[in-house]
Structure formats: C-alpha cells, structure tokens
Amino acid sequence: MKNDPEVTLELARAHGLSEHEAKLVFEILGRKPTYPELGIFSVMWSEHCSYKSSKKLLATLPTTGRCVIQGPGENAGVVDIGDGWVCVFKIESHNHPSYIEPHAGAATGVGGILRDIFTMGARPLASLDSLRFGSLDDPKQRFLMRGVVAGVGSYGNCFGCATVGGELTFHPRYGRNILVNAMNIGIARADAIFLAKAAGVGNPVIYVGSKTGRDGIHGASLLASSEFDEHTEAMRPTVQLGDPFTEKLLLEACLEAMRTGAIVGIQDMGAAGLTCSSFEMASHSGTGIEMDLDRVPQREPDMTPYELLLSESQERMLLVAEAGREQEILDVFLKWDLDAALVGRVTSDGRMRVRWHGETVVDIPVDPVAANSPVYERPRVRPADFAARQRLDLEALPVEADPSGALLALLGSPNLCSRQWVYRQYDQLVQSSTVLRPGGDAAVVRVPETERGLALKTDCNPRYCAQDPYLGAAHAVAEAARNVAVTGARPLAATDCLNFGSPERPECMWEFAEAIRGIGDACRALGVPIVSGNVSFYNETAGEGAIPPTPTIGMVGLLEDVSRAVPAAFRAAGDAVLLLGETLPELGASEYLAVRHGLERGAPPALDLAAEKRLQELLVDAASRGLLRSAHDCSEGGAAIALAECGIRAGLGVEAALPELRGRPELALFSESASRAIISCTLGAAAELLALARTHGVPAARIGSTGGDRIHVEPGVDVSLAEAHDVWARTLPEALG
C-alpha cells in the first residue's frame, strides 16, 4: 500500500517484536513483510496472545477429569454438570485498560468475558469480579475504584447478566497497576457447544456485530504486553469502548443463529480483533482463509488494512457457516439490527490471504503465526530475600492487650469490611437464578430448568503470594474450593487468572513458576482441574516494581439440590456454633499483623491439602444431610472475624470460646490457619455433626451458641453487635461517598 510506512527492523522493534522475532518474520516469509503483516506478527506473537513465556509452565497444570468436556485452548472451559447440561466458564484480566480508563476498561473487560462464554453457545448466567486497588486512603485509587465498579455494573446490568460475587483487595503495591479480573459462567446443552473452527473448504466466513472502528488498536500487543511508564497516559486510545446494548443483541442473535444448525464454528473478536479470530479458527482446523477487507463493515471512512486487521472494536464475532446457508445466518443478524457481511472463504492451503481494493496485502502461513509461535523458557531466580521474608518472631510481638479493639479494627479495615457499597451497584438478580447473593462465601445460582445449583467464587490472598508464591497459590485454590464447599457444593473445576510482573525479570518469572507449581499441587490434591484461564504479565510500572504475584482462582462447584445451599450467616438464635479444623499459632502474612502492627512478614499458614480435602468432604456431606444451618470459612482475620461476620450478616449475636493457644489471645482469635470453618446447627444436630466430623477425620468442637446482641468471643472479645455492624458497614461508604 502506497501510504504504509517502510517496514524495517526498527519498525518491527517498535511493534514490540524482539530482534530475534523480527528476523524470524523475514525468515518465515522469505521476504520483507508488508505493514499489515508486521502488525499481524506483532499482535499474534505478543505475550498477551501467544503465551510465549508461560506456555511451557501452563502445560504442567492438571486440565483433565471426569467432568471436563473442554479444557484450555478454546474460548472457555466446559464441564459436565449432569442431565445433559454443561457449565461454560472462564476468567480474564483487563488490568492495564482499567488503570488508564477505569469505566471503559472495566466495562469492556466484562464484555470480553461475556463474549467468550456465548461464543461457545452458552447463555451467560452469572459474573464475578476480582478487583485489586492500591491504598483506600489514596484519592487516585478511590477515583479508579468508583470508575471500575460503575464500569463493571454498567456493562453487566445493561447486558442482563447478574454479577453475584468476587473479591476486593487493597494493597499499596497495586497503586500503579490495579487488577480487574472478570469471570463469567454460562449454561448450555452438552450437544450444542460451538468451537472456534474454520472447517470445510469453501465454507463462507461471516463477520457479525458492530462495525469496525479505530479503537483498541494494539491493545493486546502494546498496552497489555508491556509495563507502564511515563508514556502510559498517551495510550488511552488503545482502550476500547463497550456497548452492552449491542452485545445483548449480539447474544440473542448468536444463540438464534446457532439454533439454525448452519454454523460450523464461531470465535469472538477480542484481543487482536479480526486477526486473532481468523488465525485461531484456521489454525484449529488446519485450514486457511481468504478474506476481502473491503467487505468488513466499517465505522469510519478511509480505514487502512492495518487498522481493520488490528482494531479491537467491541461486540464483533467471526463465524464460519455451511456453504449455501449463508443467507439464513445473515437474516438472523439483520432481524436484530446488527451488521453481518460475507467477508471470505475457508481454503485448503493453510495460508491467510487478505485482499484490499483488489490487491493482496497479507499472504502468510497460518501455523507459524498461531500454533507454532515462538516459545520461551525465561530465566528464573529466587529472590535473595525470600528466606528472610519467612521469618517472624512471635515472641517479639506484644501480647494483644485489647482484643475487642483489635476485632473492631479488623472489621473496619478496608480488606475485611462490608463490600455492599460495591455489589449493590450490580444487578444480582436478573435471570431469576441467584439463590445465595453476594456477601457470603461463594455465590450460588440455580441452573435454569433444573434443581441443581452452581457455587461460584474467586479467590487469592496476594499477601500470602508475596511472601511465598507457591504456598500462596495453593492457598488460593484451597480457599476458593473451601468457599464453594461451605455452601454444600462439591468443587468441580477451576479457571485461573495469573497476574504477574514482567516475565523478563527472573524474580518475577520465578514467582510465576512457583505459583503454577502451587496451583498444580493443590488442584491435583483437591481433584479440581483447571479448564480455562488467562495470563497477564507486565503488571508493573517502570522504576516502581511489580504487583504482588496474584494468581486469582475462579472456582465452580456443583450442588445436586440447590434448595440445600447453605448460607454463611447464622440463621436463628439458640443454635449451636462449631469450629471445624485445627487452629495453629500462625500469624505470618496475616491481616491481624498488617492492621494491628503494620507488618507484612512471615510465612503464610501451613496448608495440609489432605486435611483440606477431608474438611471439604465433611462440609458437602453435612450439607447434603441437611445438618447445617450456616457455614462460613475462616480465612483473613481468623476465627474471631469469621464468627463476627456470621453474626453481623444475620443480625444475631454470638457467645463463643475459642481454644486457648499459648495464652495469647491474638493467636486464638486471629490466627489464619487453613482448612477451618465456622458452622451452626440446631442443638439437636450438634452431636450428629460432631460424630460425622470424626468419621471424616476432621477436628471439630462446639464452641458456643448464637443469640443475644453481643459478639462475645473468648479470649477477650466482647463488643455490641450494633457497634460491630456499624464499624464493618461504614468504611467503604465513608471513603467513597
């Protein structure tokens, strides 16, 4: 093309390709690439699209199991949930866009994950969002948080998919690089799943949805695949703009088009837009595609092939239909007032050929760009201070003199206080499926037309991961599964969103490798495969260091009878309260240490995965027998915080005594030992529960009763329920207004 810049090695470097990669491009083509071809290589070989630094390590994760119908590699994972129904789910990051433009960045993050789900033929049923910001005291963080929460809400609410859960963490190390991870689950019939295939030589390739504009160009290659620096603000045009109304129409049109039986394969245009979708579909099927860019619906005149191929305009899909049935497909999209255009055909020669005004502007082999993209084994180095970080001298800490004050300080702390300010901005109810709403452990949704339920949770404690990424990542899996199990659901499978710093720094790469090892070990021990996920590297800002390693785990569990779902909050006065699991003197990396002493030190709690498994089996068993009135896991803040939360949410007091530990109240109250839960039951059921715990090999003790108007927990905590509620409820509204 006559106005395209001259392609040189320097231009290739400016596109984010390494010198080695740039030379490889010339080698593969046997000539100098055209400008659009360079653009294609740069996005397809970006870290975001190619997983070049993570691929080898990801391959070590367990991804198979009895329930798994589709593991990683497609738009989303698919698991069997019985009676011919499947659950389609995935979690994905939209971190850098959300920092640059919080409302639009977060909204399109939700839009992207929704498309991943309905591309596969599933109707999105529920969303979760895992959000991490810097300090709540920082006005910039409050600005970002208001924008992100409004963005998540605006997209999901308008689209019509309930947002039912997630998590929210504050830590100063996220201050210059917030995290926005969005998870969605959808439901489909097992025999009506669609894959990203471009099969059948001669079949038409059809573009549907919104028109292509100039937004989001190089979102994947430059914005998502490099760290922030002083030029970051100038990247705002790489952030896409979402239109949830159009996405809602696209959903209904896609599901209707799928019912015609004329669709062979379909893929959403997300990162790297038309390029990524066409290459991946052809690559999956071992075919090629020839495409005419003149036919692509365009939002503005004079767009170039480079722009059309790399635009990340939202709410678009690429599909392959059966030859001769294209009109049926086009008619459906026209009914919904969406654009639909025949843009190309499937070919047999494994090449991508793109024409523009009659001229061939791209002619490259599919596989070297997609399936066989460069893969790296990056150097890894354990940080020099790793051993020192693990040391915590408990004896040197003062004994907690005011346990009630400590409890209130923790309840009001940004990481433990009520999240209602966030989730009341989300439609939690649309589609009439939400059985357990946000605010408990896992959310529970009913599978439409069945009596089954799905328990959903995202989890990761970044402070644990910062201290020990292996153990921290294993905890993320264990806690996500435990959160699902306390509702009575059997953990089924998981999705992971791996947020890390630059893979080009050996310490970060070590953190990543350790986290993968931790996820793998925990998943194998608990029997939950990873079926989908996303890697987000480069979460750091030049000169300011990286975020704490944050491998967020999204867990899905199955309840055979959703009416047996167990809530977290106490239910009635006079019930027995039991503590399951064993409390050890563990304050390393705890919320107590951070809030009360301003310390982030020590090893995370030990994790005995066999004990964890026994606890989860007990919880599922007890719930299925209808023995539990409530169940809540003990995590950040320990057993005392868990007890207070159960009471506050129910508006019921509690009278309990925790097992004494070394004569130090802070250990008994706030130790974050893993594999524990607070449950309540009728007085009559307590003996049966204790016996059941014995048969499962889980330590269990009756520690008190519900009722009254105080949170009275020995050793040393005695506060009024009203005061505890007030402290817990007011932090976010006061900060965010």
Binding site: C158, Y423, Q425, L429, V430, R446
Partner: protein, 226 residues
C-alpha cells in the same frame, strides 16, 4: 363448586435491550397465567387480558430511560388496550416507558446517590386501583429494586395516585418515597421494585407473587365483564 376459570392471557413485551422479560414471563406463569412474548415490532396484538412491560435497558437507555421504546410499533396497541381498560403492569424500565408514553404521570430520574442500586426493599400498599385481590392497604411487601434511574418525580399538574411507598426511606431519593403509582382508572400500574424477582422462597421472597396474582385476578375479572 365454582367453575374453573381459564387462565389470564398476558402479553410480555420484548424490546431490544429488555432484560427481565423472561423473568416477568416466568413470574406470571408461576402465578398461573398463560404468557405470550410480544416482539416490539409487532403492531398488532393477539387477544390478551393484560400486558406486562418488563425491566431492562430498552435501546440501551442511552437516551432517557424508556424514551425510545415508547416509539416502538407495539406501543400504539398497548395504548389502545390501556384505554379499553385492560390491566397494564410496568416494572422498572417498564414503569419508565409507561411514564414516557403518557400512560402514567411524572418521570423517573437518576438515583440520589447517582449510583445503580440493587437491594431488597420494603414497600407498603396504598391505592390499589383495580389490582387488589391479595393486597390490602397498609400491607408491607419485601421486593427487590435494581435501577440507576428510579427516583420518581411527580408531574406538578397531576398529583399521582400512590400505589406503593418505600418503608423506612427510599433507596433512590424518590419524592415522598413513592415506589409505584396507578392511573386514575386504576388499570395501569407502574412500579420500580421487581415483583417477578420475589416469586420463590428459594430466591428470597414470595411477596411479589401476591402482586402478580392480584394483577392476574384483575385481568380475569375484567375479561368476565367484557
């Protein structure tokens, strides 16, 4: 023995961007109605005893909420049906559409805090119009709201007949805590809370079913007088 009445035939209008259309249809069906989904481009309606206009974001609510939907071909038929005295229920975005279409007075504006709000609310029953079978004045119902623009502002020229009022303060800054209103004839009811999201104990409350059943009872009773 009283003869079995045939169920009320209810049309639920589907606009592009309607979200709670299937929820409202399901709620009516659980309460015994025979429900038909009506596409907004249909200018002619089948034989119906009443109409439900669901919540959601018709046309994305990119203009004023409900401002586009009132121009859909189906709305002329809805106006005729309402004028003929048949019951019409508008929930949330449906309420906004009824106001925009002039079937109910006043308007719904941005919530006081400028934030979307989703939570259970307690509302008390006041003027019931024709929709009264299982509703008594003063009775309280727990029904959720979920909206960004739900603060009701009355038309200064036309005092509204208040059907429901929030108890203990409104979640959105509504004038006089108004949650829903009926027209003068008593056959058109609009409210911000979602009765269709309160029809099953498993999902939190069954108070919405009392309201939907009352609406269906009015539909059947009016059919029998036709």
């Amino acid at each position: 023995m009283t003869p079995a009445r045939s169920p009320a035939r209810i049309g639920v209008i589907v606009f592009p961007g309607s979200n709670d259309d299937r929820d409202l249809a399901r709620g009516f069906a659980l309460c015994g109605a025979q429900v038909e989904m009506i596409w907004h481009k249909d200018a002619r309606l089948p034989e119906l005893d009443g109409i439900g206009i669901p919540g959601g974001f018709s046309y994305g609510d990119y203009l004023r909420c409900g401002a586009m939907a009132r121009f859909s071909p189906v709305m002329r038929a809805v106006l005729q049906l309402a004028a003929a005295g048949r019951p019409v229920l508008g929930v949330c975005n449906g309420f906004q559409i009824l106001c925009e279409a002039g079937l109910l007075p006043g308007a719904l504006v941005r919530n006081r805090e400028l934030l979307f709000v989703c939570q259970d609310t307690r509302i008390s029953v006041e003027e019931r119009g024709l929709i009264r079978a299982e509703l008594a004045p003063g009775q309280e119902l727990v029904i959720p709201v979920k909206h960004g623009e739900g603060a009701y502002v009355p038309d200064p020229e036309r005092k509204p007949r208040v059907a429901f009022r929030y108890v203990g303060g409104s979640p959105n800054g509504s004038t006089d805590d108004i949650a829903g209103i009926v027209n003068d004839a008593g056959n058109v009811l609009g409210l911000m809370p979602h009765p269709e999201h309160a029809v099953e104990a498993l999902l939190g409350s069954t108070d919405g079913a009392r309201l939907l059943r009352s609406f269906l009872a009015a539909c059947v009773a009016l059919r029998e007088t036709r």
